[in-house]
């Protein structure tokens, strides 16, 4: 057995367990901390795929930024750890049913298409990818790249519109 394959399975297992905790934990804080495991696991997968830039971005933005923000939000919100997560639903069976159908349909589609495809395995080349990504962004994908900056402005304007108090 290839060593990288073993590493892959270990990382996947850790990620999946963390995902389970995030989804099923009754306590909000446990969920928030388990999210760390999820992000770290995905980071490990990126490294295995030799996507070094994406891995660093994952570390800086998700673990360093978003996770910390979520933790702050959880801790600053009063009594969120006691929120039981109960909701009033019109029909109790609806939620699991919808989830089941969603997973079943999507899973069946992916299952079917994956096992009817011949995958060509290529050797992973471990090397820096940052330069290549930069070239692509500023040459081939310049237009989407610029529009994304507009998207950010738009996000700011939208947040301002929704967040501020009306001045009469």
């Amino acid at each position: 057995m290839d060593i990288s394959l073993a590493i892959f399975f270990v990382i996947s297992a850790v990620t999946l367990v963390a995902c389970g905790i995030v989804a099923f934990s009754k306590n909000m804080i446990y969920s928030a901390f388990a999210l760390l495991g999820v992000f770290a696991g995905v980071l490990g997968l990126y490294i295995l795929l030799s996507a070094d830039f994406v891995a660093i971005v994952q570390l800086v933005i998700y673990i360093g930024g978003i996770l910390v923000l979520i933790l702050f939000a959880v801790m600053l919100t009063t009594r969120i750890d006691m929120a039981s997560g109960e909701r009033r639903l019109v029909n109790k069976a609806m939620e699991p049913l919808a989830a089941f159908f969603g997973i079943a349909i999507l899973g069946a589609l992916i299952w079917k298409s994956f096992f009817s495809t011949h995958w060509t395995v290529s050797r992973v080349f471990y090397g820096p990818t940052t330069a290549a990504i930069g070239e692509k962004l500023l040459n081939e994908y310049l237009l989407p790249f610029e529009i994304i900056s507009l998207l950010l402005i738009l996000g700011l304007v939208g947040a301002m519109v929704l967040g501020r108090r009306e001045v009469k």
């Binding site: 589609l109 992916i110 079917k112 298409s113 994956f114 009817s116 495809t117 011949h118 040459n139 081939e140 994908y141 310049l142 237009l143 989407p144 529009i147 994304i148 507009l150 998207l151 402005i153 738009l154 996000g155 304007v157 939208g158 947040a159 301002m160 519109v161 929704l162 009306e166 009469k168």
Partner: protein
Amino acid sequence: MPLIAVLGAAIIILLLISWWKRASGELLLIMAVAALCAVVMFSWNGLLSPFTVIDVGFPLMAAFDNLSYLSFIILAIASFLSLVASYNYVKERGQNFGAYIVLILFALFGGMIMSCGTNLIAIFIGLETLSLSAYALAGYNKDLASGEASIKYFVLGAAASAILLLGIAFYFGASGSFEISNIRLQVMNLQAEVTNKNIFLLSAALIITGFGFKTASVPFQWWAPDVYEGSPLPVTTFFATAVKAAAFVAFYRIVSSMIPVTGDTLMQAFYVIAVLTMTFGNVCAIYQDNVKRMLAYSSIAHAGYIMIAFVFMSRDMIAAKEAMLFYLLTYTVMTAGAFACLTMLKRKGVNHELTDISNLAALGKRSPWFAFAFSVFLLSLAGFPPTAGFFAKFYIFKSAIQNGFVNLAIIAVINSLISVYYYMRPVVVMYFGSDQLPRVSESTDEEFNYSTAGVIILCMILVLILGLFPNAVLSMIGM
């Protein structure tokens, strides 16, 4: 050029409102309208004399063909109608009109990118630009319903975008490129290794899910009634017209490029979606007492009619394009008119929208012209002959029959018969409803609202022109 006009106007207005706090709403509105006129003019020129795109050193990821130009025009008209109709609406509530214009223009820009993009990345970013402004616009009225609409739209929209993105990723996996125009060249390639085709179909399914959400077609329509009802009325107009039109055009572009690979496989999916969508929309609309909510369900039903064009697309792509564009244009005009009529309804000193059907009672006596205009829009939505709605439906059903989908056309006709019932209800209430219901004064009693009235008259003229001379517009679309 049309893109630059919109973008420039949006940014100038954004800077203007941040520096000059007292900038009057009229000035900003005139600037925005000028930009929209420029869009229509440039698109019209482009339509008449297609220019070759200058090589700018990086891929433009956009096609400037008559599909893009016509959809630019439709989107500009839709934004124009919702901007002008909202002038009084926003002013009465003391809201910030500048930010509103900026959001509409950015949304328009996103929609234009979507409708001319030939690269899935560009289309996706256009879609996000459109959606992000739509989320903010939905919450523009800061009451409970509006907030609910915004949050609901945001959460569900984000999920739909994620699914769409997954579909795009699989598309890349199957075809090795994000381009959707060069896929025809790869057909040989794909058919040689049929094994890849399943991944391609998977990506098609996910992309259909994502766009099905944006176009509010069954089974992805649950958000639509709540969001349409909760949003401010002019914004609902924008959702029902511009957002839907942009989503349909981008959807058309993607699906038409997939057809060489998928063949008739997608046809069955669209068949089911079309039948479910129109039936669901029409049947649910029957039970609504709120006219705004009724129009939301009717917008679902109309999405179902447009989906018919996707069913016969694999047989006759040109007819599908023409039928879809004509339908989108007429639907934009008549829906904007109907919503503008609702905007006119208001009571002195009350700021919330009066959209319950009882508010329409005896309107025929109090202001006959207004009631007449509203009736024309409703008749057009139902598809009565002298109006635009009839020809839009007629054209789409005719193409369906020509391509051998007689059953589908019969189902659609039955559906439009169902829709006559609920479209006639407000008309009956307006002309024959008793005056005993809560006394409601609409706007002609107090101040006459020029901007909204202008929109209503304009829509009315357009509906009648499209209904009386459909050939002129159709020949324009067919150029």
